[in-house]
């Protein structure tokens, strides 16, 4: 597998450009972990031991996992069986082989340890294998970085459609969206930034920000893996702070900010509440602290006619934001609307800056 390590270090340098020197030293502490499926298959393991492991892992699912849905709306046994299959695939076990010795990417001891963490500690599957399949991307994730959700894939659909529509209108001056500057605020693993960068034209650029140095380094790693280090710049800092130099230049602003009300964090399924970074989930008292901050601050960075899309906790939050943008910040936005996710939940608020 081709793997652009060198490009990765370039991305990290770009993170440490002078304007982002707020926490540069911590970057060295956060060397991103290599996802399981990219490790070398150097652990020779007898097939019989692997079969034994599978039996053990299945038993563990059945004995411990069957009540997750009732405890906290966690995964059911079918989900867990599917995860086990993918776990073994990532670990290097290919069922089509009928060799007696399987070359795994982790030792047998670690295989047991990792699966125990998955079931007993409810460590998210994506942290166990160190990656998440999202759209057509495989993104590295680890503790400290929000695991991208399937719902968020829709934002990319919306952006792609916007760019397509702009192209169809065939006005040469109007390829602003395709060739302009986009910003992904609170990028986490870099999912939105990477998917959008791939949809943009030659001149299009993306700035991806995150307050968390861990997230920034993981995002940088993912950006490097897709060879987008010339298109995506990663900056560390809170919301609009790292954007001082691009005021009124941004043609597209997307964000999946923390939006869960603080008092609901405890009730979340264990994989989320106990393992994912609170920084990426907790949206304050009513969950809207950051979303409102984004709506208020957008005016300072957006170019006239620029587009925005924010993910919310759904329904009430979306309606509130719609009201807010139409009334309180009257005259700033136009064509603001609510877009539903694939489950029919009113998940996104999108619109244009006047």
């Amino acid at each position: 597998m081709a793997f652009p390590y060198n490009s990765f270090s370039r991305t990290i340098r770009s993170i440490m450009s002078p304007r982002n020197l707020s926490q540069p030293s911590s970057i060295h502490l956060n060397q991103p972990q290599t996802p399981l499926f990219l490790k070398s298959p150097i652990h020779q393991t007898p097939l019989s031991s692997l079969t034994q492991f599978q039996t053990w892992a299945k038993t563990l699912i059945q004995s411990k996992g069957s009540n997750f849905p009732t405890i906290d709306n966690g995964p059911d046994t079918n989900h867990l069986f599917r995860e086990l299959k993918w776990f073994l695939e990532d670990a290097g076990f290919n069922r089509d082989d009928d060799e007696d010795i399987v070359r795994l990417r982790v030792g047998l001891d670690e295989l047991y340890l990792l699966w125990k963490q998955r079931i007993v500690e409810r460590r998210p599957f994506q942290y166990v294998v160190g990656c998440e399949h999202w759209r057509d991307l495989v993104l590295s994730v680890e503790e400290g970085v929000l695991i991208p959700r399937p719902e968020t894939e829709v934002i990319v659909d919306i952006v792609e459609e916007l760019i397509k529509k702009e192209e169809e209108e065939e006005d040469e001056n109007e390829v602003m969206m395709k060739e302009g500057l986009w910003v992904d605020l609170g990028t986490g693993s870099g999912a939105l930034a990477i998917a959008i960068a791939r949809a943009l034209g030659k001149g299009g650029r993306v700035i991806a920000t995150d307050l968390s140095p861990v997230a920034a380094s993981v995002a940088g790693y993912n950006v490097g893996r897709y060879g987008l280090q010339d298109k995506i710049e990663i900056r560390i800092g809170s919301w609009f702070k790292p954007l001082e130099d691009v005021k009124r230049e941004v043609v597209g602003l997307v964000s999946n900010p923390p939006y869960i009300p603080s008092d609901q964090i405890l009730g979340l399924q264990a994989e989320v509440g106990k393992h994912e970074p609170r920084l990426a989930l907790d949206g304050g008292e009513n969950g809207m602290v950051d979303l409102l901050h984004l709506c208020e601050g957008a005016a300072s960075v957006m170019k006239s006619g620029g587009f925005f899309a924010f993910e919310t906790n759904g329904e009430m939050q979306s309606k509130f934001l719609l009201d807010f943008t139409m009334n309180k910040s009257k005259g700033c936005f136009r064509d603001v609307k609510i877009v539903s996710d694939h489950s029919g939940i009113q998940r996104f608020v999108t619109g244009f800056f006047v």
């Binding site: 959700r149 989320v272 906790n313």
Partner: protein, 391 residues
């Protein structure tokens, strides 16, 4: 009878073997000539010949081309069938001659053995090309098994069918993978998808489509009552992505995604990214859950939907998907095709062909070859009556 070296018993054994081979091959030739509908072929041939001699033939070039191709095709076939007959008659003559002679002529015997060997190969080839001549027959296959209503018994039955097809695939040395499996609550599976890569896998398996019925003493019922369960089997060709050159208008598709449950978004972390697509004009539906991202599931579901629509179009003799008559697309599972009775007696019987066996254990272990072959022949002779008449 004795040969020149006087080695009687050995040569006799050879002769008896040959005689047996000749007898069975004679039967086979007869079968093939019967199922090929020789009389029908000759009638069609005369009709086509008349048409091709018609002065108006070239008024429609495309039609003329088609007619001439069909004529060549039918001529070749009749010739081949005639060759089979003359060859087996040669072999029969040698056998008769040897029986009447005082001694065995080794040269003649060898000649007859050679004829039978080559004829068998030619017959195999003929059968394959005749029986598996559909446009997708050469492709691999995707089998989806769905447990019927009735809970654990039906789910266990679905799992038995899954194993049967996996074993069959492995015995053919095809690359066989269970790509998706949804477990039942107590035992068995709710559904499974098997991908089988190998030449003619689809051609062989396409006849497995339909409802499979089991009758047995329920292992999940303490009273061991007799229980009837059903499972649905669907078969689609496994078409390479780029070969499915069909565009379906976006507005004809109803795409739905699995729900994460609850508030979704950041609240939930589940690996469920299933995608279901319904083709609105026909009501044909597919579901894909085995990929790890929603987009990947959507792409795969779409390519499966296309494969399914192409097959339906072919069955309906429609030249494109737009022409599929939605009302004619039968219920998802289609008709009941086979019964598997475990109790009170043991019998597997195909409803369509009438083929049956009491060796139910072998069938469940993947020995479904006789059923497949019988169905292919059945389908072939059924189609034959209409194929050339259309022109």
């Amino acid at each position: 009878m004795r040969d020149k070296t006087g080695n009687i018993s050995c040569v006799l054994a050879d002769f008896y073997t040959l005689r047996k081979d000749v007898e069975s091959t004679t039967e086979r030739v007869q079968d093939i000539r019967d199922s090929a509908g020789l009389e029908q072929l000759e009638e069609d041939f005369l009709n086509l010949e008349k048409k091709s001699a018609d002065t108006s033939l070239w008024d429609d070039r495309a039609k003329a081309q088609e007619t001439l191709l069909a004529l060549t095709d039918i001529k070749d076939k009749i010739k081949l069938l005639a060759e089979f007959k003359s060859q087996i008659e040669d072999a029969e003559t040698i056998v008769k001659l040897t029986e009447e002679m005082e001694s065995i002529d080794n040269g003649l015997l060898e000649e007859a053995t050679g004829i039978i060997r080559n004829l068998s190969k030619a017959l195999d080839q003929f059968e394959l090309t005749q029986l598996l001549s559909g446009p997708y027959d050469k492709e691999g296959a995707v089998i989806s098994i769905t447990a019927g209503a009735g809970g654990t018994d039906a789910q266990d039955w679905a799992d038995m069918l899954r194993r049967m097809y996996v074993r069959w695939g492995e015995k053919q040395c095809f690359k066989t993978r269970v790509v998706e499996k949804s477990m039942g609550e107590e035992a068995g599976i709710k559904s499974a998808t098997i991908e089988i890569e190998g030449r003619y896998a689809y051609g062989y398996l396409s006849g497995e489509k339909g409802t499979h019925r089991i009758v047995r003493q329920s292992p999940f019922n303490s009273k061991g009552l007799r229980q009837t369960s059903f499972s649905g089997v669907e078969v689609m060709p496994l078409l390479p992505e780029e070969s499915v050159g069909v565009e379906i208008p976006e507005e004809d598709l109803d795409i739905s995604f699995s729900r994460a449950g609850g508030s979704g978004g950041q609240n939930v972390n589940k690996v469920e990214t299933a995608v279901r697509i319904v083709h609105i004009p026909t009501g044909v539906a597919v579901r894909c859950t085995e990929e790890r991202s929603q987009l990947a599931n959507k792409i795969k579901a779409l390519s499966r939907l296309k494969a399914k629509l192409l097959v339906i179009a072919e069955e309906q003799r429609a030249s494109e998907i737009k022409q599929i008559r939605g009302d004619a697309v039968k219920a998802e599972w289609g008709q009941q095709i086979r019964n598997y009775v475990f109790h009170p007696y043991k019998l597997v019987k195909d409803v369509r062909t009438g083929i049956e066996t009491s060796d139910i254990a072998s069938v469940m272990d993947g020995e479904i070859e006789p059923f497949i072959k019988a169905f292919l022949k059945y389908k072939y002779s059924k189609n034959l009556k209409s194929s050339y008449v259309l022109l």
